[in-house]
Amino acid sequence: MASQGGTTRRRFLKSGALALAGLGLAGRAHSAPQLKLKKPIKIGCQTILSGPLGGYGEFMRKGALLAQDEINAQGGIGGSPIEMNFRDEELKVDVGVKNARYFVDDWGADFLIGIDSSAVALAVGEIMPTLNRVLIVTHGATEKFNEDLVFKKHIKQCFRISVPVYQDGIASAIVAKDLPVKRWATISPDYEYGHTSWKMFRASLKKLKPDVEFVGESFAKFGTVDFSSHISKVMGSNPEAIFSTEWGGEAVTMVKQAKLFKVFDQTKAFMCAMGAAMDVLQGLGADYPDGAWASGRYYFLYPESADNRRFVDAFRKKWNTFPSYVSETSYAALYAIKKAVEKAGALDTDAVITALEGLEVSRPAGPCVIRKEDHQAVYTVPWGRIRHDPKYPMPILGDLRVTPANDYYRKPPFPPVEA
């Protein structure tokens, strides 16, 4: 009798102590709901990792890895850690499609993110129904991705967390209409995106300021190292301002060469849609002409919020450099996946799709909603003018022009762009 009582009490105390300890552990380490999903959750990211545009891949990787670290430290997605895998899209459509198939079929990816090239985004988007995983594009900006693939063709697996070409073609026109400039020309990359962005800029600006003229254009293929003949061709048409959607290392080379041709002395304005990318700011440095207009898909000093500051500081601490915009978009993509999966309670593609539609994503770039109609994230990014501030190791943007995204984003049923 006595031993039974002793064992019971001891057992009771032991189990009580264990229970308390268990509660303590659970409270500290797991802030994520325990969903008992597979471990790990695999996310495949493809981006341009080599060549003159390779800076993008580097910055995208860094943003994704920062998010992975933070999310895993908090217990992962529904209790499962994230595992990332990165591949080089090489800006080639066949490589992009191959990477996507490899991620899903060979590596077992649960989600796909990334993609810099609009052409690759469209090609990969087309095969998503076969792969049946959620794809969150973090850079490629063609409007055909959300307007055609998602809205018109109902490819529901496709999402985009980064701003579309509306930022380069429409928000730019809103700024341009107030500039004392009537004759515009362009030097832009010779592929889908370069042509689409110029067309959208022309269409938007003509509506806002009917007396503008578009006097010259030159499109440079990928891999152009010498823009001299493009510059001389365009300057031959006597423009007052140049609009460009050149990006990465090619933007740096083009601006440097344009400077040698005294383009910035002969024109009144220069607008570079992706000129505020961190690698372009760093690459041009003191050579970036003051007053040049630039934008991107996120700018590290906008908005001036605690969330944004926290992200920038964490990024700088981990990587010893400021975040570029693709760092923020890949970071936001991972957090969007986390929020959607935990909301859906499952990894099932259809469930996650439903959870992502209309989702409010909290991200460094500010308030953001993923539109249900075309799976496009809506958030605001400023255009600004380059200025050299001794407080920062690279040029920054001043004179920020902020137009709320909802004011200029194209909306369904997406009429054709008339230029």
Partner: protein, 289 residues
């Protein structure tokens, strides 16, 4: 209108000068050694990387870097020839091509390892960031400098080949290797020096490109293909052909942009095809046999 055309042509010829420097070495090496050096673009790339490295080491002096960088590439060329290429002269040409292609891959990975995979963007030297007015348009001083260097190299090579003894030996070996050897020319040492000279020229091209263009792994691939088009068009083994070929390609590109921008990629190849149909050995090439 005429002035704009003239100006566009001038810009095209300036772009051609980088091509000329790479094509000159390529042509020389083929003419004398009968080796198609696929790694010549890599030597151009090394010229850019090494010159920029020297530039940073000496605290930002472009002229010192320009003097030293190409010499470093020449040294690399020496190692390549003496250590590797020499062993495959008597073997099938396919092996030579494979060897030089292997170097392309090795150098690409080497620069990624040492300098990182991202592009780099050196500053323009202070003295040459100005501009002059030509044909009513603004022409960068640096581009004028490039035209000058291209012309100087052309003249220098001509003088070297036509007026010096060493040049005579090179021309003799290129024309008839057996006879030259019979007359006492030591082919093996000649080959080394020709390869070193070719490497120096490619390195110079890369070095000159750094203030205006960006440096990245893979920049060699871009220029070697264009250089091959140039030497085939101009005639393998002919320096005159390499110069003219480069100018033709440069002008095709510059004027092509004005009138046929849709064919920007194809024009150089179409030009090459047209020349080959009319004159299969190239503009200044010598028909074998």
């Amino acid at each position: 209108m005429g002035r704009a055309l003239l100006f566009q042509g001038l810009v095209g010829i300036t772009e051609a000068m980088y091509l000329w420097l790479v094509a000159a070495g390529l042509s020389l090496i083929f003419g004398v050694m009968r080796v198609l050096n696929f790694a010549h673009g890599s030597l151009y790339m090394l010229g850019a990387y090494l010159t920029y490295a020297v530039f940073r080491l000496v605290g930002g002096d472009f002229w010192i870097a320009l003097a030293i960088g190409p010499l470093l590439v020449a040294a690399v060329g020496w190692v390549l020839e003496v250590g590797f290429l020499r062993r495959v002269y008597r073997v099938e040409e396919a092996f030579q091509l494979l060897l030089t292609f292997a170097f392309v891959l090795i150098f690409d990975d080497l620069v990624k390892l040492v300098f990182g995979p991202l592009y780099q963007s050196p500053p323009t030297p202070k003295g040459l960031s100005g501009a002059v007015v030509i044909a009513g348009s603004i022409f960068p001083a640096y581009h004028l400098f490039i035209l000058g260097v291209g012309a100087a190299v052309g003249l220098g090579l001509w003088y070297f080949l036509e007026r010096t003894r060493f040049g005579l030996l090179i021309r003799a070996t290129a024309a008839d290797r057996e006879m030259a050897r019979a007359l006492g020319v030591r082919a093996s040492r000649l080959f080394t020096w020709v390869f070193v000279l070719g490497a120096w020229l490619a390195g110079l091209g890369g070095a000159l490109s750094i203030p205006v263009r960006s440096i990245s792994p893979g920049m060699g691939e871009l220029i070697i293909i264009e250089a091959f088009v140039v030497v085939v068009l101009g005639g393998l083994g002919s320096l005159r052909g390499a110069f003219l070929g480069a100018v033709v390609i440069g002008l095709l590109h510059a004027y092509g942009l004005l009138y046929l921008p849709v064919f920007e990629l194809a024009l150089a190849y179409v030009g090459m095809a047209v020349v080959l149909i009319i004159r299969p050995q190239g503009l200044f090439g010598v028909r074998e046999g």
